[in-house]
């Protein structure tokens, strides 16, 4: 087993375990931390596929910003194991079963595909590098790029408006 394979299996295991812990840990703060580890392992996968830009952006955007927001909100709401709402046992079992069967169906459908011929790791292929991505982004995809920035702006304004509270109602 080459070092790359070891890394692949390690990252895969970490991602799956982390994802399971996100779902099953009782304390929301722990969930957030596990989710961060999931993102890290996915970033690792990106690096293995030589998509360095996406790896770092994934880290900055997800781990550095989005998860901080999650943590922020959870901390301010002071959620912990005790305050965590629980669904009834049967509902949870049913949900797990349905999720599992979805996975089963998908795996069954995909298991016979002839994927083994195509390897993903090769030295060649520098599309993941920032230069190539930028080239394409600012030529072919410049319109979606601009639209997404508008989306960002509106999301920002929306979040601020939602988060703003009528101060006088509280002080009085």
């Amino acid at each position: 087993m080459s070092i790359i394979e070891i890394l692949f299996w390690f990252l895969t295991a970490l991602a799956l375990f982390g994802a399971l812990m996100v779902v099953f840990s009782k304390n929301p703060v722990h969930s957030v931390l596990w989710l961060i580890s999931v993102f890290f392992s996915i970033s690792g996968h990106y690096i293995l596929m030589n998509a360095q830009f996406l790896a770092i952006v994934n880290m900055i955007v997800y781990a550095g910003a989005i998860m901080v927001l999650f943590l922020f909100v959870i901390m301010l709401m002071n959620m912990n194991t005790e305050s965590e709402p629980q669904k009834s046992k049967w509902l949870r079992i049913a949900a797990s079963l349905s999720g599992g069967s979805l996975m089963l169906v998908l795996v069954a459908a995909l298991k016979d595909t002839n994927g083994k011929v195509t390897g993903v790791f090769k030295v060649e292929g520098n599309i993941g590098l920032i230069k190539n991505l930028g080239q394409v982004l600012f030529t072919d995809y410049v319109l979606p790029f601009e639209i997404s920035s508008v989306l960002f702006l509106s999301a920002m304004v929306g979040a601020v408006l939602l988060g703003k509270k009528e101060t006088n109602s509280i002080i009085s």
Binding site: F8, T12, A15, L16, A19, V22, V23, P28, S31, L35, V38, F39, I42, H45, Y46, M49, N50, A51, F53, L54, V57, V61, Y62, L69, F70, V73, I74, M77, M79, E84, P85, Q86, R92, S96, G99, G100, L102, M103, V107, L110, T113, G115, K116, T118, V120, E124, G125, I127, G128, Q135, V136, L137, Y141, S148, L151, F152, A155, G158, A159, L162
Partner: protein
């Protein structure tokens, strides 16, 4: 590394996300499970982009096939970030009004 492994990994992550959405009542955790699902898709997109790129490389050394998939990932991240800000703002608003993030409370919206 065969593409199959990546497909299976993504499927597994996606399913875990779905299980999370179905089993939990905490709106924030549900939100996080949706993020897992998005990431599963991202991973798959990158893997496919890489696969197609390698295929095309055989024919043309200077090809940029597959770049768009990675750009899709980029855009998904952008949308996810926007979605999280608005979503969390809504959850905070919700929490402020009913002091809970239990989605079952959202039934109150019906009345």
């Amino acid at each position: 590394m065969p593409i199959n492994y990546y497909i299976l990994l993504s499927v597994a992550l996606f399913s875990i996300g779905i299980v999370g959405v179905l089993t939990r009542r905490n709106a924030i955790i549900i939100f996080m499970c949706i993020e897992i699902m998005l990431n599963a898709v991202n991973l798959l997109l990158v893997a496919f982009s890489k696969m197609h790129h390698l295929r095309a490389l055989v024919a043309d050394r200077a090809t940029t096939v597959g770049t768009d998939a990675q750009l899709f990932v980029f855009f998904i991240m952008v949308v996810a970030a926007a979605e999280v800000t608005v979503g969390l703002a809504i959850i905070v608003m919700l929490y402020r009004n009913i002091h809970s993030v239990d989605i079952n409370f959202l039934n109150r919206l019906k009345h």
